[in-house]
């Protein structure tokens, strides 16, 4: 059979043979002879990933037998996966799938033959390698070549234009099903449309879908069949650190030191002992080294713990992922994408242990390089036939980077060969994909995960995702971090929200400290940016941050403790930057006015100000402290640019009455001031008196503002509670599905349209049609016929009206009779009736009465309308275009 196939694709074949031989010659530098060739193969086999004992002395027969055995074994194993695969086998309705799914075209058949041939040669040349993954069965049990399963599609969503979002979508959208046999590629490879429909798939389904989307978006992407780590194959992220918990690295900007200027002063002489410094430095270093050592040991221990269980099947687990080559879409470097997790890895990553083959929608390449060191030394130059054996000749991967010297050796032969090849290129290329275009509905796109929910377990963390609007409180994502590897002790919970009317974006709950922090987007009615608290009770520890530009008072932050309140401001016309209020214990009040608010007395108010450029520095207050309880006011002024000390002033207003009982207005010791440059006018009592009066007013104002701040806190807390309670979501007016108003409007419009349509249909009903049908067709109506037609039509209508009236009458009578009967029955059996029966009877009565009334109404209405309807029809008949000419006389 092999021979037959060989004949079919002889030309391709011989070519390949010769080329392979040439290559081998080059590698081994030996003459081409059957036996040696076998030896070379063996040698090569040893180099490939899994060296196998192949003895060149062994006869081909035993090899054949071995292969047979292998095949049989694999066939035995097949039954096992089929049971595992049942999750879709039963549910997939293959009958509705298009024809291309259920059969192969001629070209596809041809391709399959080519592939078979290729496979045969491959297994012949590399007997120690596993058979290639070339044409698995699709959902209709039809073998399809893997490349034709890739259906390049550009998605209509701008979010899916880049590889990262694309990969994230695929990993979210599909739920992962493990391979039936973790050591072999699957027997079935479904179309992406089916996979999308059921939102389930194994790694091959994942990578095929992702590859289709990436190629559609213009990337140079390939599906890879290879070997991966256990975690990778099982989508096990429990040993990965969650990317969301990683803190972004702070970029430390080193400030560029300006070159010392010509007249820069010399630093003062350093008089400390250098020896002592050195000793100190040595000691510090020793301590540091010790710490480092301890830390390293600890780390090593942890690592050991984590990696305690090793995989017995390491290096044998089959996995499929996506390779993106550099070049297209400005990809600077080739990289892998794991379709399960949507993570990108460099091509040197440890997770990937080897590559068997890779393919895109145009061709199929087999890896001929050695994978002893995982994928670290692989060269992804698909044009290099030594490293990558291709299935079809001359698709768009030319010999990418053949170096000159390689070229020189075989230039002459090559030219001739190429000529031949080119002819064949045209004769055969990859048939178009049999898969229907990939479509994702907007609903599905928005819902993303199957049922809109997805849970990922990371190392010491759990990530849950929901589709927007799925949770009625707007929750879209929750990250729970744990203290231990077993995930039993919760450290903290982060919840992300979307579309909240209160603009809540993130809720951060620290389970250890009990601290909650809510973060808001701009647009909260109170301009809240962040609210961190332990309890929602007022007068407790809390911090509120605000969007200061949205607030009239320029408040940035308000911190509260049970006894204090601190506020930070910016951009105020009075240059206030800081206010700190100390509260004293609440004074107990009489029960009488308990209903009134009882604010805590303020003990001390400290206010700080920015520099007011309009005033000279030594008249510009920097800080003022109102010691309310002690009736003292302390002022500190800004420091002048050429001074190091600042003016200070303290007002005492305790003694109001002197020894004789006279009122003292102002005395010199009521104002203690320190002035850096003594000024004359400030010594005056009048000046001091006026300043004090002003300060007293300002104190009142500050107290009032502090009180207002307290009120505002209460208000915000109340508002927050209400918002938490209501958790209403905003719906964009463009979101026609969710926006109730627009939905109603649209439905109303549809209804109107529908009715309009019905009316039109009604109007088109031809009342003359049954009568016209009686007349011989095609003839013109005579006048007599027309009159008769009209009369008949009217009579008929009259009859109908009468019939209808009779019908209603009959129903009416029937109902009344039944009711009477029932009443009679009731009166007779009234005594023996159970309460249930009575109830039944009563409800029947009321229903019957209702029906009778309705019938009565209908009858009377019919009686009213019938003559009118009759006249209307008559009128209409007179105006009918078919009769109008003939009936004119009568009008």
């Amino acid at each position: 059979m092999v021979q037959a196939v060989l004949k079919v694709t002889s030309s391709l074949d011989s070519q390949r043979h010769t080329r392979m031989e040439v290559l081998k010659e080059k590698v081994e530098e030996e003459e081409a002879a059957e036996r040696e060739e076998a030896a070379e193969r063996a040698e090569r086999g040893e180099k490939t990933k899994r060296p196998m004992e192949v003895r060149r002395e062994e006869t081909t027969l035993t090899q054949e037998m071995l292969r047979d055995l292998e095949r049989k074994l694999s066939e035995i194993e097949v039954s096992v996966p089929e049971k595992l695969l049942t999750f879709t086998k039963d549910t997939i309705d293959t009958s509705k799938l298009p024809l291309s799914y259920q059969s192969n075209t001629l070209k596809e058949e041809h391709l399959l033959q080519v592939a078979d041939n290729f496979s045969c040669q491959y297994s012949h040349l590399c007997p120690d390698r596993v058979p290639l993954f070339l044409h698995p069965l699709n959902e209709c049990e039809v073998p399809k070549f893997v490349s034709t399963t890739i259906r390049p599609t550009l998605m209509p969503y701008p979010e899916l234009y880049n590889w990262d979002t694309c990969a994230q979508f695929v990993s979210d959208f599909l739920s992962m099903v493990p391979l039936p046999d973790p050591l072999k590629p699957p027997l079935y490879l479904y179309s992406s449309t089916t996979v999308l429909k059921y939102q389930k798939g194994n790694c091959f389904d994942f990578s095929t879908l992702l590859c289709s989307m990436l190629i559609g978006a213009g990337y140079d992407a390939y599906c890879v069949n290879g070997y991966g780590l256990q975690d990778l194959c099982h989508m096990d992220l429990t040993r990965e650190v969650c990317p969301l918990t990683l803190k972004p690295k702070e970029t430390v900007k080193e400030e560029e030191k300006a070159p010392p200027k010509k007249y820069a002063i010399k630093p003062p002489r350093d008089l400390t002992s250098r020896f002592e410094q050195e000793q100190e430095a040595k000691r510090q270093e020793a301590i540091k080294a010790e710490e480092e050592n301890r830390r390293k040991q600890e780390e090593a221990r942890l690592l050991e713990q984590e990696n305690a269980k090793t995989d017995p099947l390491h290096g044998l687990r089959v996995h499929s992922w996506v390779l993106v080559l550099s070049g297209k879409r400005e990809v600077p470097e080739s990289f892998f994408i794991d379709p399960f997790t949507a993570h990108s890895y460099s091509t040197q990553d440890d997770h990937f242990l080897g590559i068997e083959s890779l393919w895109n929608h145009k061709n199929y390449w087999v890896n001929m390089q050695d994978c002893w060191n995982c994928c670290k030394e692989l060269v992804f130059d698909l044009g290099d036939p030594v490293r990558w054996e291709y299935l079809l000749v001359g698709t768009d991967k030319p010999f990418l980077s053949l170096t000159e010297e390689e070229d020189e050796g075989m230039n002459d032969d090559d030219d001739v060969e190429k000529l031949g090849k080119e002819d064949e290129d045209k004769s055969f290329d990859m048939p178009p994909s049999w898969v229907e275009p990939i479509e994702i509905s907007p609903e599905a796109f928005e819902t993303r995960c199957p049922n809109g929910k997805k849970v990922i377990q990371y190392k010491r963390a759990k990530l849950e995702k929901w589709a927007p609007y799925l949770n009625n409180n707007g929750l879209v994502c929750r990250l729970t971090t744990y203290e231990d590897l077993e995930c039993t002790k919760t450290l903290e919970v982060k919840e992300w929200y979307q579309h909240r009317e209160d603009m809540l974006e993130l809720k951060h709950i620290n389970k250890i400290t009990g601290l909650n922090a809510d973060y808001f987007k701009p647009g909260h009615p109170q301009a809240l940016r962040m609210h961190s608290y332990k309890s929602m009770q007022p007068e407790m520890d809390r911090v509120m941050e605000f969007y200061e530009t949205a607030r009239l008072d320029g408040l940035i932050k308000r911190e509260e403790t049970p006894k204090t309140m601190t506020e930070y401001y910016q951009g105020r016309p009075d240059f206030l930057s800081y206010r700190h209020v100390n509260f004293g214990p609440r004074v107990k009040k009489l029960a009488l006015n308990s209903a009134e608010s009882n604010p805590r007395p303020m003990v001390k108010i400290t206010e700080r100000f920015f520099r007011n450029p309009a005033k000279p520095a030594d008249e510009d207050v920097a800080e003022r402290v109102f010691l309310i309880a002690e009736e003292r006011i302390q002022l500190r002024y800004h420091c002048r640019s050429d001074h190091i000390t600042a003016n200070k002033r303290e007002f005492l207003r305790r003694m109001e009455v002197d020894s004789k009982g006279n009122k003292i207005i102002m005395t010199a010791d009521m104002c203690i001031s320190f002035e850096v440059e003594p000024m004359e006018h400030t010594k005056k009592l009048l000046y001091q008196y006026e300043a004090m009066m002003k300060l007293k007013n300002e104190e009142k104002l500050s107290r009032h503002q502090a009180w207002e701040s307290e009120l505002e806190v209460l208000e915000i807390l109340k508002l927050r509670e209400e918002e938490e309670e209501a958790h209403t979501l905003t719906i964009s007016i463009y979101d026609t599905k969710r926006n109730e108003k627009s939905k109603e409007y649209r439905e109303a419009m549809e209804r109107v349209l529908h009715e309009e349509h019905r009316r039109q249909v009604e109007a088109q009903l031809d009342y003359l049609a049954p009568f016209l049908a009686q007349l011989p067709p095609g003839e013109k109506l005579t006048r007599w016929q027309a009159v008769r037609l009209k009369d008949e039509c009217l009579n008929d209508f009259k009859q109908r009206l009468i019939d209808k009236a009779n019908l209603i009458q009959a129903r009416f009578e029937k109902e009344t009779q039944e009711l009477q009967k029932k009443q009679q029955w009731y009166q007779e059996n009234q005594v023996t009736l159970t309460p249930e029966d009575e109830d039944l009877y009563l409800s029947y009565c009321s229903q019957a009465m209702f029906r009778i009334r309705i019938l009565e109404q209908r009858l009377s209405r019919h009686k009213e309308l019938a003559p009118l309807k009759y006249l209307a029809l008559e009128e209409k008949l007179y105006k009918d275009p078919r009769l109008v000419e003939l009936l004119k006389v009568f009008v």
């Binding site: 200027k261 010509k262 007249y263 820069a264 002063i265 010399k266 003062p268 420091c639 050429d642 001074h643 190091i644 000390t645 207005i665 102002m666 320190f674 850096v676 006018h681 005056k684 009592l685 009048l686 008196y689 006026e690």
Partner: protein, 522 residues
């Protein structure tokens, strides 16, 4: 308008002013305080002296910070004695007998001036009042429309009253003012509407355009002059003013009678031309070199100043930090002492705190001394550099000037040669051309002509020497002045800082002391 002298004119004496100040001072509690303390005239902001029959404004020199002064309804005849009131914003002189506007040249801050009901016939002498917004000149004797054009220079003027003047009887009065004072908003207490303004503008367009043109020309001329003056100033700073042309050369011949006569000799004309060209080129060299050197000196000075400022700033920051730290501690220990009840503890605490204060004093002083040392070093370095720079400049200029002198000597020799040749020709009677009489008079004998040429040469050399000396002395004096100033500033700074530190320490100490006494009293 004349009010009769029905009352005795009064003199503005101290008593009157005190009374007025006292009456118009603060009220109630503040008033009591003010009475207790007395009010200084220089603190008064506003003063009202109406209906006082004042004849002469006097005794107001003490009111330095006065903002508002009302002298209406008096019999003042002359505006005087207001020179010191430079902060005045509002001045009311209405209902007086003033005949001319004068004595307002120092009141640059004046915004509101009322001269209502006086005998003024001409608007002038208001040039200094650049901020004038309101001008009231009603009920006066102003008769000439042209007075209004004078008001065009007050860009801020918004309100004007001129009713009751002969001008106002002119039928075109309103239109004229509208047209010539387009920024005016109120005239005679009425708002000028836009329509009116448009009409007026159309009516007087031609004359206004002409006026504007003239004003613009004037403005341009002024600006030109300003620019020229600035340029000259710049050159003067570089000590090479008027070396960028033929000025020096021309000045050499300005006082040189013989030289001018001799230039009429045949052949001397060309000689003079080449000499002049060469001379001017050297002058230009000096000029450019001077400007370049000036740039260098400026840059040097700037970097020096910058560095010194930075050093001082840094030192101040350190000082501030120390003081802030101390202040925290200070407050705490003061409170602690206050609350302590046991006497022995109080004493130890007080002692401890005074030690802290001394430590602060030491730290601050050390910082200051450190800065002084550092700055001294830097200043010395700068001094050396700037002296070197100036020396180099002087040296180079002198060498260039020497070139000028060489040229002059060369020219002198040539001239002498020509003169002697001509003398010989004249003596031999071979002279064809006619020489002017005054020139011929020089060619009497050899001595005379040699003396004449020599005198001319001497004058030229003198001029060159003078210019050189001027430059050198000026640049040297600039240098010494600059260095003096830097040294002086540094000394002042140091003294100020030391004083500041001492003051602060005294204050802190006194706080502690007062606490001690208070405790002792308790």
């Amino acid at each position: 308008m004349n009010r009769l002298y029905d009352m005795e004119p009064r003199v503005m004496d101290d008593e009157m002013l005190k009374l007025a100040v006292g009456k118009q001072g603060p009220r109630e509690e503040a008033g009591q305080l003010a009475k207790q303390e007395g009010i200084l005239f220089k603190d008064v902001l506003s003063l009202q002296l109406d209906f006082q029959n004042i004849l002469r404004i006097d005794n107001l020199w003490q009111f330095e910070s006065l903002r508002k002064l009302q002298l209406d309804n008096n019999i003042i005849e002359k505006i005087e004695g207001l020179e010191n009131l430079t902060h005045l914003v509002w001045l009311d002189l209405s209902f007086n007998n003033i005949e001319a506007i004068e004595g307002l040249d120092t009141l640059v801050n004046l915004e509101d001036l009322s001269l209502f009901n006086n005998r003024i016939s001409k608007i002038d002498s208001l040039d200094a009042l650049v901020k004038l917004q309101v001008l009231s000149l009603g009920n006066n004797h102003i008769g000439n429309m042209m007075n209004i054009i004078y008001l065009r220079r007050f860009k801020a003027l918004r309100t004007l009253s001129l009713s009751g003047n002969p001008v106002a009887e002119n039928e075109d009065y309103k239109m004229f003012i509208c047209a010539y004072l387009p920024d005016l908003v109120y005239l005679d207490f009425q708002r000028l509407d836009d329509h009116m303004k448009e009409l007026a503008e159309m009516k007087h367009q031609y004359s206004i355009d002409e006026l504007k043109h003239r004003e613009n020309l004037m403005q341009a001329q002024l600006e030109d002059e300003q620019a020229r003056r600035e340029e000259l100033e710049e050159h003067k700073v570089a000590f090479v003013e008027q070396l960028n042309g033929t000025f020096l050369f021309d000045s050499m011949y300005a006082e040189d009678v013989e030289g001018r006569k001799l230039s009429n000799l045949p052949g001397v004309g060309e000689l003079l031309e080449t000499y002049k060209d060469k001379f001017v080129i050297i002058c230009l060299n000096i000029f450019e070199y001077g400007l370049k050197q000036q740039e260098k000196r400026k840059a040097e000075l700037e970097t020096f100043m910058e560095c010194v400022q930075e050093a001082i700033q840094e030192n101040q920051e350190q000082g501030k930090l120390k003081i802030a730290k101390f202040e925290e501690k200070h407050l705490l220990s003061l409170n602690a002492i206050r609350e302590e009840s046991e006497l022995s503890n109080i004493e130890t605490k007080i002692v401890e705190h005074s030690e802290d204060i001394t430590a602060l004093l030491n730290v601050l002083m050390t910082l200051e001394m450190q800065l002084v040392e550092q700055l001294e070093e830097t200043i010395n370095m700068f001094e050396r550099n700037i002296i070197d720079l100036v020396g180099l400049f002087v040296e180079n200029v002198q060498s260039l000037m020497a070139q000028c002198r060489d040229l002059e000597n060369h020219h002198h020799e040539k001239l002498l040669e020509i003169a002697i040749n001509i003398l010989e020709k004249i003596v031999k009677g071979e002279m064809d051309e006619d020489l002017p009489d005054d020139l011929r008079s020089l060619f009497i004998d050899k001595d005379t002509i040699v003396n004449a040429v020599g005198a001319s040469h001497d004058i030229h050399l003198l001029k060159i020497d003078n210019r050189e000396d001027e430059l050198v002395t000026r640049v040297n004096s600039w240098c010494t002045h600059l260095l003096d100033k830097i040294h002086k500033d540094e000394i002042m700074r140091n003294r100020k800082r030391v004083k500041e530190i001492n003051q602060y320490i005294d204050h802190v100490q006194s706080e502690l002391d007062s606490l001690e006494y208070g405790d002792l009293l308790d």
